[in-house]
């Protein structure tokens, strides 16, 4: 990792997002240093997904600003915005794979942000041997190299998730964002997935931000936890300093409010 200046990393300053009159994020501020691994924890609807989307500039903050390596994301031109997104890998909760394409084609879609239309069409129809080999290496790393030419919808849910991770890695990203990567798989597989993502990130020196439901997984694999509730940051601390009660309170309060709402 190279020198950490003040313009390094990702900075979120006083960001609010309002969807159709409802606040999804409420003046959130935080900084993420290059190479750091952060877990966003909290109940569903707390704003974890929105925060991740703000980080890779697919959601525009209603107010506040996001800087990535010193650049204001809100002020970028369309092309610069694409370039920034191209440097950030995103593993979606719903994966977002094209089911009737081959695995390799889905993986190679990761490079779209760095290619022009013609270039990407060429890579799609007739990939170069080096590109195929690179895709194969990444699939090896996520553990499913033999599925290279398989149709994606023939794969199991866990395998498809690995394809989505491989696509994010094929982007050759500086930073990896993952939205609830464990919500659709069984507990044993969930642990594998989180382990895989954290290992790859530390091997390659990637910044990793992951939203998680499961506190145990967050504590086992992440040095820093950010608790979210109702669009606000409830706590932001090294894992050792987060009190289990504090975490529990994220959910308790929510339940209390729900009761109040229901009454």
């Amino acid at each position: 990792m190279t020198g950490h200046g003040s313009s390094d990393g990702l900075h979120v300053a006083d960001v609010s997002v309002v969807y159709a009159g409802l606040p999804a994020l409420d003046s959130v501020s935080l900084g993420i240093a290059p190479g750091e691994a952060v877990a966003f924890v909290g109940p569903s609807g707390a704003g974890k997904t929105t925060l991740l989307r703000v980080l890779n500039a697919t959601v525009r903050p209603t107010s506040g600003c996001v800087t990535y390596r010193g650049e204001h994301l809100g002020e970028l031109s369309a092309n610069d915005l694409r370039a920034v997104r191209g440097r950030i890998g995103f593993v979606h909760q719903s994966l977002g794979l094209v089911p009737n394409l081959r695995v390799i084609q889905n993986v190679m879609a990761g490079r779209l942000g760095r290619q022009g239309l013609l270039q990407s069409l060429r890579a799609f129809v007739r990939p170069k041997p080096a590109e195929i080999e690179h895709a194969y290496e990444i699939l090896e790393r996520v553990g499913i190299p033999e599925k290279l030419y398989e149709r994606t919808d023939r794969l199991s849910g866990g395998q498809q998730q690995r394809v989505a991770i491989a696509r994010a890695l094929y982007q050759d990203p500086e930073m990896l964002l993952a939205d609830e990567p464990v919500s659709s798989v069984d507990p044993a597989r969930a642990r594998d997935t989180v382990k895989l993502l954290t290992e790859i990130s530390s091997e390659q020196g990637l910044t990793l931000c992951m939203s998680l439901h499961n506190l145990d997984l967050a504590r086992d694999y992440f040095p820093r936890l950010v608790g979210l509730r109702n669009g606000k940051i409830a706590f932001d601390a090294p894992v050792g300093e987060v009190d289990p009660d504090e975490f529990q309170r994220l959910y308790d309060l929510e339940q209390g409010e729900m009761l109040a709402d229901g009454a």
């Binding site: 500039a57 697919t58 370039a83 779209l112 990407s120 989505a164």
Partner: protein
């Protein structure tokens, strides 16, 4: 019979489906009365063209269904005329060829029109909203949709008649008459297929930094393409029928042969041409059916 009124709660007398049925029945009866055609007019010998409408003609015509002509029925056939079966083949060939020409043009038009008419094409980047992205797309989108609706709403035969009146007969005009409504219909269905494709892929690709065109080409199109291909195949089958019908308006296809043989009273030849058309449609239907099963499997 006496019943405890509270014991059995009656369902409402008519639900929405009942309403639909009642509507159909009412419309059916009303239409039947309105057409004001006494059923006995269907009997031969009572109509407007009694000389043609006697039972013998109908019997003659139907009886030739089992013995279609294998040679010309007319005794005045010029020596230069090809054998009837060659003429049938020629008619079938032309029918398919004109249909294929119309289909190629229709598809060339339908792809861009269908893309522009799909709301998926216009879903911009939520992180970048400008005046242009706010006002230009709805205008173009609405305009193209209206254009498509207009193209579709006039039947190919009516387009043919309009062209005929405007410029006189030409083969190209006849093909164009098929192309306009077909391009409209294909574009409409293409846009619907594209809009039905799930959105998650588009979002994921947008997050990799893909441009809007790339999101469309790599995220939506591959998903929609099999369905689009199956539908295009089905429309090709329809185009064969349309090309045949345009024969009644001068296009050199099986329809033209059917109409001239029928007018001469050569019913055997009529059946031969009808069976040729049947065979063409049968092959296409089998092919497109097989393809659809493959695609949906």
């Amino acid at each position: 019979m006496v019943r405890d009124a509270g014991a059995l709660r009656r369902p409402p007398p008519i639900g929405p489906r009942g309403l639909v049925f009642a509507g159909i029945a009412a419309a059916g009866v009303w239409s039947f009365v309105l057409l004001d055609v006494p059923a006995e007019r269907l009997l031969p010998g009572s109509g407007l063209l009694p000389e043609l409408r006697d039972l013998r003609v109908l019997g003659d015509f139907l009886s030739r269904a089992v013995s279609p002509a294998l040679d010309y029925e007319s005794s005045f056939v010029p020596d230069s005329a090809p054998p009837l079966l060659m003429k049938v083949l020629d008619g079938a060939h032309r029918t398919v060829a004109y249909a294929a020409m119309a289909m190629t043009l229709s598809l060339l038009l339908a792809f861009p029109l269908g893309f522009v008419a799909s709301s998926a094409w216009w879903r911009g980047d939520p992180a970048r909203v400008t005046t242009a992205t706010r006002f230009v797309p709805p205008l173009l989108f609405g305009g193209v949709r209206a254009l498509i609706a207009f193209m579709r709403s006039i039947h190919e035969l009516l387009w043919a008649i309009v062209f005929l009146a405007a410029m006189g007969y030409s083969t190209f005009a006849a093909i164009l008459a098929i192309v306009i409504p077909y391009a409209g219909t294909l574009a409409k269905v293409f846009s619907e297929i594209l809009d039905e494709a799930p959105r998650d892929t588009a979002l994921a690709l947008q997050a990799t930094g893909a441009s809007r065109t790339q999101v469309f080409v790599f995220g939506l199109l591959p998903r929609a393409l099999p369905d689009m291909a199956a539908y295009a195949f089905y429309r090709f089958e329809c185009a064969i029928r349309s090309a045949a019908i345009l024969g009644f308006f001068g296009l050199e296809t099986l329809g033209k042969f059917i109409s001239s043989s029928f007018d001469e009273g050569y019913y055997g030849e009529v059946w031969t041409y009808i069976y040729a058309l049947f065979a063409l449609v049968l092959v296409m239907e089998w092919w497109s059916g097989a393809l659809r099963r493959k695609v949906t499997a």
